[in-house]
């Protein structure tokens, strides 16, 4: 695939979401969502709380099941069949708001476990990968400590390393900095900016507009379960078409 833009974005769609709806009982979380994300793209999803951002993200790796519609991830259609779900999850890394590190395992083991039991790598190989990733996220000295001895920012960086260790083609970020103290947000964003530059496909749910400006190719404004507006980052920032988008941006940027 030729690189048509200065960034790593290509023309083939790595995630295809078609007519997706999802309700929790009476509450409609997603209604008739259509979204195509291209390989190498950084897609930034924002919007008011309860607007369905996290649900949409969680549907992509099937932590939630859609009620209707179709999701295709890297050519694999998500169905209820266990094999396809595991297949998709192996391609998709996920970073959670609350990190969800495994508290009974040391940092190194947090990163090596899935490599060994899912990817079948040897202990040596997995350790090598893990140490390289810890170096990359800037905390090589923390390999032998337990997660509870880390700061929030460090925990989130370990969580990112843990997801990257599986060599995912897509990384999903579910409000990765929302649970962090202000002074730790930047260290996590820096790691994410690095990733964005390397060309991995990223879908980021966040309120960090600075990150969007710096790294996102496109932005999606999601409200009340519907996509209100999708646009190229600079255009959406400077010239939102929808009144609701403008209103929300004004609120969040002041």
């Amino acid at each position: 695939m030729p690189n048509s833009t200065p960034s790593n974005v290509t023309n083939d769609d790595i995630i295809i979401i078609e007519n997706c709806s999802k309700s929790f009982g009476e509450v409609v979380a997603l209604s008739d969502i259509n979204l195509r994300i291209r390989r190498g793209e950084v897609c930034f999803i924002f919007g008011p709380s309860g607007g369905g951002k996290s649900t949409l993200l969680r549907c992509i790796n099937h932590l939630e099941t859609i009620d209707s519609g179709r999701i295709v991830v890297d050519g694999i259609q998500l169905t209820e069949a266990k094999e396809t779900i595991d297949q998709v999850r192996a391609e998709v890394g996920m970073v959670f708001q609350l990190f969800h590190l495994f508290p009974h395992l040391k940092v190194l083991e947090n990163i090596t476990l899935a490599q060994r039991v899912v990817r079948g790598r040897s202990k040596e190989e997995a350790t090598e990968v893990a140490l390289a990733l810890l170096d990359r996220v800037g905390i090589p000295e923390k390999a032998d400590v337990f997660p509870n001895q880390l700061s929030g920012g460090q925990m989130q960086r370990v969580a990112i390393a843990r997801a990257l260790a599986m060599n995912p083609r897509i990384m999903l970020f579910d409000e990765p900095t929302s649970a962090l103290d202000a002074e730790m947000i930047q260290e996590v964003l820096d790691v994410m900016l690095d990733l964005a530059r390397e060309g991995i496909t990223m879908v980021v749910v966040s309120h960090e507009m600075g990150f969007a400006k710096a790294a996102a190719d496109r932005m999606v404004f999601l409200s009340e379960g519907k996509i209100v507006e999708i646009g190229i980052t600079s255009e959406l920032f400077n010239n939102p078409k929808e009144a609701r988008t403008k209103e929300f941006l004004d609120q969040i940027l002041t």
Partner: protein
């Protein structure tokens, strides 16, 4: 440290004038005095000595009963605990049925039931099965063996172990279920999002954390099991309670017989609860 002491002193207690003495573990002192008195009695008094010599033979069966039953109950409990949380409707309902029914029947009734209803019925079924298998040449040997099993061949000890296992399996199922449920949902999601199967996530992520949560209640249940093994005396198994009763019936020395029984149980349970406390402290991994 000093600050704490100040606060402790100022707190008006029931006996303020006792001062620092109020913080001594007096209950241990009382236990020690009773224990010392018992040892003294056993060494110096021939009635107490006779009661002790006769009763101590029961310790062996009490321990065999408790350890065997509890070990098997742990396996059953884990399976039924996982079953209660299973998304498979059959497993879930079977586990629920087992736990709810068994927990609702007194253990003593279960002991009678297993010993005098389930065992004979099961043996009769095996006999019938063996009788039919004998007609098939390749299975004739096994069939013959099965058809020759007699109900009285099944020792009461095995029946008691089966009954206690079934009873405690239901308790431990609840312990395991609660332990697994206490682990944040995000742990499972994180494991699954890394591509682990449900089974792998359980094995590597959920259960290792749940074990730490359930060990203290399991330890306490083991102590309960040790005490409840006394119920097996109704099946004439020569465990502590039963031998104590035998001695009482033979000598009419109720005070000595039952006193020795109670003290021997206390020795076992107090040492166990000491071990459980130590285990709890060692496992308390910082969250």
């Amino acid at each position: 440290m000093a600050v704490t002491t100040e606060v402790e002193r100022k707190r008006p207690g029931m006996l303020p004038w006792v001062g620092d003495l109020s913080r001594l573990p007096w209950w241990i002192v009382v236990v020690a005095i009773v224990g010392g008195a018992a040892i003294f009695a056993i060494v110096t008094n021939r009635h107490w000595e006779a009661a002790y010599e006769f009763t101590k033979t029961g310790i062996r069966f009490t321990i065999i009963l408790s350890i065997t039953s509890f070990a098997i109950a742990l396996v059953i409990g884990l399976l039924a605990g996982l079953g209660q949380l299973s998304s498979n409707m059959v497993f879930r309902n079977l586990s629920m049925l087992y736990v709810q029914v068994i927990r609702g029947i007194p253990i003593i009734v279960q002991l009678y039931f297993v010993a005098f209803v389930i065992t004979p019925v099961a043996i009769n079924l095996l006999n019938d099965l063996g009788g039919n298998m004998r007609l098939l040449i390749p299975l004739a040997g096994l069939g013959g063996a099965l058809s020759r099993i007699h109900i009285r061949d099944i020792d009461m000890l095995y029946r008691a172990i089966a009954a206690l296992t079934i009873a405690y399996g239901a308790f431990e199922a609840e312990v395991f279920r609660a332990g697994i449920e206490s682990i944040q949902r995000g742990q499972m999601e994180a494991a699954r999002s890394l591509g682990m199967s449900h089974l792998q996530a359980m094995r590597y992520i959920i259960l290792p954390q749940a074990i730490r949560v359930v060990l203290p209640p399991l330890g306490n249940d083991f102590i309960s099991m040790l005490k409840d093994s006394s119920l097996a005396s109704i099946l004439a198994i020569r465990e502590l309670t039963h031998v104590g009763q035998l001695h009482r019936a033979r000598t009419f020395r109720s005070w000595e017989s039952l006193g020795v029984v109670a003290i021997l149980y206390l020795v076992l349970t107090l040492s166990l609860s000491f071990l459980v406390k130590r285990m709890e402290r060692r496992l308390a991994f910082a969250k």
